[in-house]
Amino acid sequence: MPKPAPTPDELTKPFWDACNERRLVVQYCSTDQRYQYPPAAVCEACGSGSNLTWREVSGRGKIVTYTIMHDARQRTFHADQPFNIAIIELEEDSAIKLFSNLPGTPIDEVPVGASVQLEFEEVHTGQLVPEWRVVN
């Protein structure tokens, strides 16, 4: 499904660079031993950015819930409606959630609770963005 392309900035460049190497990295605060996503300049728990690092995660997760978008606000997506938007929780920390359009899963057949595996999808700028596929 065609997606818009992200515009990496100083904060998010490590994330997008890692994606281009087919790795998923998530911010981690060593002070609070806490993952953080989406990225921010400081840890939302302690307010400091000095102990925030990027940590590679396994790329395994689970579907928490989903919706099927029939009337998106973004015109970019109108041609592909209806489509899945699933919420994936990371194996490393269930508090961390990412979105997925669940390539390979038909609408109305989203298996809540199923395991998913990370993959990457190329957008029109050549940037790779994270996606997730149900593990059979």
């Binding site: 392309a5 989903y66 919706t67 099927i68 978008m69 998106a72 970019t76 959630k97």
Partner: protein
């Protein structure tokens, strides 16, 4: 032409005017502030582009009706609190403005306190102006606190909210091939805006408690039925047609399982309430409805999705705050008008406030019972936003009218001595407890 913004003169209420944390105890002004008057403008589907039907003109109509309703002259008003922003898109910059006072967004897509004071005849003694941006729920809490604190004695609380010609909220829609900033983490997967959050949250709720979207049908049909009994509302004035279970079940999907009829319909309308001290209220035309407490909540999701656990934690917290502020408990609440602008939300509030004993996971069973205004469980007798159109204030009108005993055909048969109104989002909003007695 560039967009001509709202008048920036009046300041937003400071954070300390909102009661946003638990443990503050009983509200220090409990029973010392009262709501007395109500005024509504006509309700239209969209603005037709004329000055006569603009938000400013409608706010003036609402203010004058409110003054008349309360039996108060404009000269007796010493405070004005408004929600300055409308909910729809602005009029400019690609549209022509009018002559003053309709020469900026003020009076067209929003109404500031300054604009109102300058344009309602006779408001010559206003010395207190403040904004409660967001929803009427903000402005009501701010106005009640202001009266209690002695910042003003007799206050008009105004919200005008509109719907411009064309499709709602399409200006500013992210439509490009690139995305940047915080929106990136949602926009790449088609998530922007709250809508998919509400659909996905509802799926999580249904999976946890064993329910489904169809079980909302009796609740939504009842909202629309009640809306036809609200003469101030859009449907009663413009589309007085019955709404059926089939209408609901056959509604097109927006973000499944949220359908079009789970969403309130944007309209053009204004309201004004008069709040004053309990002492002054005794001499006014309508029976005082005392404000027993107010509460605020502001949640922030841990990640990109607001989990059901977070929703339940935040809504329970604001219910606890309101009960603490008012000194009441769930069994004490008679009339319950929680936000319903997305009908997929209401169960969170119903269960958080435990109205009529409803606990977590029980709301959809409760929806299968008799919810009618004359029945034992008259949930949202206002009809709410779904039943009367998107304004986010029918709940307040109904609570005040019910406790004054002048809700007409909507007057509930159960006891109506206390009432709760509030909203909008599970992640954040403002709530108020009303009572027929200050004690």
């Amino acid at each position: 032409m560039t967009l001509r913004p709202l008048n920036p003169n009046t300041k937003n209420a400071p954070a300390e005017m909102y009661r946003a944390v638990e443990g503050l105890g009983v509200w220090e002004h409990r029973g010392k502030v009262a709501a007395v008057g109500i005024g509504h403008s006509p309700a239209d589907r969209r603005w037709d582009g004329t000055i006569e039907k603009s938000l400013g003109a409608y706010a003036i109509i609402a203010a004058n009706k409110c003054l008349e309703d309360a039996g108060v002259t404009a000269g007796q008003i010493d405070g004005v609190v408004t929600v300055p922003n409308g909910m729809g898109d602005p009029w400019g910059p690609d549209r022509p403005y009018f002559e003053a006072p309709y020469d900026t967004e003020d009076g067209l897509s929003g109404v500031t306190a300054d604009w109102l004071v300058n344009n309602v005849p006779g408001l010559d003694n206003v010395q207190f102006k403040m904004h409660g941006p967001g929803c009427m729920a903000n402005a009501m809490n701010v106005a009640a606190q202001a009266v209690g604190d002695g910042l003003a004695h007799t206050v008009l609380v105004v919200r005008a909210t509109g719907n411009m010609p064309g499709r709602y909220h399409q200006s500013g829609t992210p439509s490009g091939d690139l995305t940047s900033g915080p929106a990136t983490w949602e926009a790449l997967w088609g998530w922007p805006g709250g809508i998919p959050q509400f659909g996905a949250g509802f799926v999580e709720y249904c999976n946890k408690y064993g329910s489904n979207h169809d079980r909302l049908a009796p609740f939504v049909v009842n909202l629309r039925t009640n809306g036809l009994l609200m003469p101030e509302g859009y449907y009663a004035q413009n589309r007085a047609e019955p709404f059926t279970v089939d209408d609901y079940l056959n509604s097109r999907w927006i973000s499944k399982p949220m359908s079009m009829n789970d969403c309130d319909m944007p309209i053009q309308n204004a309201v004004c309430y008069l709040l004053t001290t309990a002492e002054r209220a005794k001499d006014m035309k309508q029976k005082p409805v005392y404000i027993l407490g107010h509460a605020t909540h502001n949640g922030k999701a841990r990640s990109v999705y607001q989990t059901l656990e977070e929703t339940e934690e935040w809504t329970s917290s604001v219910a606890n705050k309101l009960y603490e502020a008012s000194g009441l408990s769930p069994a004490d609440v008679d009339v319950f008008n929680a936000y319903d602008g997305f009908t997929l939300f209401t169960q969170y509030y119903l269960e958080a406030f435990q109205w009529h004993g409803v606990k977590r996971g029980e709301a959809h069973d409760f929806y299968q019972e008799d919810l009618s205004v004359k029945g034992p469980h008259p949930l949202l007798p206002s009809g709410g936003n779904n039943g009367s159109g998107r304004t986010r204030y029918w709940h307040y009108t109904d609570c005040i009218q019910q406790l004054q005993g002048r809700a007409g055909p909507r007057q509930v048969n159960i006891k109506a001595e206390t009432a709760v109104a509030g909203g909008p989002l599970p992640a954040g909003g403002n709530w108020m407890m009303f009572g027929t007695s200050p004690d």
